[in-house]
Symmetry: C2
C-alpha cells in the first residue's frame, strides 16, 4: 500500500475526493497531525506528497518518490543535494495552472490604474465626487507599447488577452539581453519571470530610471526582481505612471514598508493566482498526475532541478 501526504487544507468534501482517488492507498493530512514532529514522522513514511513541505523534510525523506507542489515556484528546493535526491525523487510543479487568474489580475491592475479605479474606490470611501476632474486624466491601453518580460504560460495568456487592445508587444525571454533596449520605449512593462541569478535585481534603480515618464510596471514574478526603494522613489516623484505589484521581497509586507503608502501603486498581495476553485483545481491536477504516476507515464509539470527550472 502506498502512502500519500498532503499539506493542503481541505474541506471534508475535498478530502473525500482525494481519498477516493487514492483508492486503497493511505492519506496523511498534515492538518490532522497534532504537532510538527508527528507530521514529519508520518511524512517520512510517504511515497507521494501534494503540497509544499519544508525543504529539510524533503531532503531526509528516503521514501518519497514524487512530490506534487501546489505552486509554480520551487526556489526553496533548489539548494538540496539533487545529485543525490535526483536518483529517487521527482518533483512536479503547477506550471500553467495560474495562467488565467494571474493574466486577469495583471489586466485588472493595469486597467485600474489607467481608468482610475483605484482613485475612485478611495473617493467613494470618503464620499467624494471627483469625476469631472478625474476623467480628464485617464488613459487607455489601446495602442500602448507593451514589454512582456518572460514568456511562459502567464505572459502568453496576457498576450492573448491584449490582442484586441491593439498594443505593440515586445517579448523578452530571460535569456535575452534585449530588455535594456526595450525599456525606454515601453508604456507598460509586465514582468513574469522566476527568481534566478539572472533575474534578481533586473529592475534596479538605473534600469527603472530608463523607463519613460508615465510608464507603468507590473511585477507578477518574484519580489526580488525589483529594487523596491527605487520603485517607490519613482512613483513618489510622479515620474512613473503607476505599478501593479503582486510579489514583494517580504510577504506579508512589513508594517513599515513604503509600498503601503506609495502613490499610484496597486498592491495585489500575492493574490494573482487565486480563485475560489483553486484547491479543487489543484486536486484535479494531482489526481490526473497520480494516474500517470501509477501507470509509469511522464508526469505533467516535471521540473529539471539541475537546470533550475
Amino acid at each position: 500500500m502506498m502512502r500519500a501526504f498532503t499539506t493542503l487544507e481541505l474541506t471534508p468534501e475535498q478530502a473525500a475526493r482525494l481519498k477516493e482517488a487514492l483508492g486503497g492507498d493511505f492519506l496523511v493530512k498534515a492538518t490532522d497531525c497534532s504537532n510538527e514532529a508527528e507530521a514529519r514522522e508520518r511524512f517520512d513514511t510517504c511515497e507521494v506528497a501534494l503540497g509544499n513541505p519544508a525543504a529539510a523534510w524533503v531532503a531526509e525523506n528516503s521514501s518519497l518518490r514524487w512530490l506534487q507542489l501546489e505552486s509554480v515556484g520551487f526556489g526553496e528546493y533548489l539548494a538540496l543535494n539533487w545529485s543525490k535526491l535526483g536518483g529517487h525523487l521527482r518533483i512536479t510543479n503547477l506550471a500553467g495552472f495560474f495562467a488565467e487568474p494571474v493574466a486577469e489580475s495583471i489586466l485588472a491592475g493595469v486597467l485600474a490604474l489607467l481608468r482610475g479605479v483605484d482613485r475612485l474606490v478611495l473617493d467613494r470611501q470618503r464620499h467624494h465626487w471627483d469625476g469631472e476632474t478625474l476623467r480628464t486624466r485617464l488613459k487607455t491601453l489601446a495602442g500602448a507599447d507593451v514589454v512582456l518580460f518572460g514568456f511562459g504560460a502567464i505572459n502568453k495568456r496576457v498576450a492573448e488577452l491584449l490582442a484586441s487592445f491593439g498594443c505593440r508587444l515586445t517579448t523578452i525571454t530571460r535569456e535575452s539581453g534585449a530588455l535594456e533596449s526595450a525599456l525606454p520605449n515601453a508604456d507598460l512593462v509586465i514582468a513574469v519571470v522566476p527568481d534566478t541569478p539572472g533575474t534578481r535585481n533586473v529592475f534596479d534603480r538605473r534600469r527603472l530610471a530608463t523607463l519613460k515618464s508615465g510608464a507603468i510596471i507590473a511585477n507578477f514574478g518574484r519580489g526580488s526582481l525589483i529594487d523596491e526603494d527605487a520603485l517607490a522613489d519613482e512613483l513618489q516623484s510622479g515620474r512613473l505612471g503607476g505599478a501593479v505589484i503582486d510579489v514583494t521581497r517580504e510577504e506579508p509586507l512589513p508594517p513599515d514598508h513604503r509600498f503601503w503608502r506609495t502613490p499610484n501603486l496597486i498592491l495585489t498581495q500575492h493574490t494573482g493566482g487565486g480563485s475560489h476553485d483553486e484547491v479543487d483545481r489543484k486536486l484535479t491536477r494531482f489526481i490526473e498526475n497520480l494516474s500517470r504516476y501509477r501507470r509509469g507515464e511522464k508526469l505533467v509539470g516535471l521540473i529539471d532541478l539541475s537546470r533550475g527550472y
Copy 2:
C-alpha cells in the same frame, strides 16, 4: 462671415487651434462672456456651435444651423419642437467617440470586482495584509456568460475586448424582448443603452431579482435604467456579486445616496468616457465636421430627433 460658439473650456493652445480651423470666421467662447445674459445674446448670433448649450437657448436661436454636441446623449433636446426646429437646425453627437475609453472602463471595473482590486485598494489604505484569505474568493472572467444590453459602438468594442476571454456573449438590442429570458443565465450584464421610454427602469426590482446569485451588472448607459434602491438591496444582501456603476439618476451623487456605501459596488462617477486627450479629440471631430459642413456634405454623427436617437 460665419459666427461659431463653444461652451468648451479650452486651453490657449486649443482655442488657437479652433480659431485657425475657423479661418476668417468668428469664435465666441462662452467662457469669455462676463455673464449668462451676454453669452446667450452672443449665442443667438451664431450659425454653428460646439458643446451642449441649454435647450431653451437652442430652441430660440433662429441663426443656428448646426450644433455639434460634446456628448453622445442628447436627451435634454428631445422635448424641443423639432417639427419647427428641424427645418433649419441639424444636431450631431459624438457617437462612437467614447467607445474605447468606456469599453476599457467597463473591463477595468468588472475585472477589479472579479480579481479583488477594490478590496485590495482599501486593504492597502489601512495597511492590512489579507492576501491569503482574499485569493480563495477571487473569480475569473474566462468562460463567463455575458449579456450585452445595447449593441452600439461601446458594446461592440466590449465584445472585441472580451473575444480572448472565451466568454459566451448574448447581444440584446433595445428593440428586442429577449432581455428578460437572458438575465437568469448571465454571470455579467453590461448595459449601454440610452435613456428612452423603452429602457427606463428596465432593471427594476423584479428583473434584478431574476439575475442569478453572484452575477455582476455594469451600467454605462443612463442612470434611469436601474432601480437604484433595489440594486443596493441586492448588493447589501450579498446576493448579487457586484456592480460597476458609471451613471446615476443624480450626478453628482447626493451625499446621502446609498451607493456611497453599498458593498461590492464600484462607482466610476461618469468618468467612463474620459481621457487626458478628450478635448483635443473633440476639437478634431468638430473640425472634421466643420469641413463637411462648409462643403455641404453629410455630417458625421447626425441625430434623427424625430426617432429619438
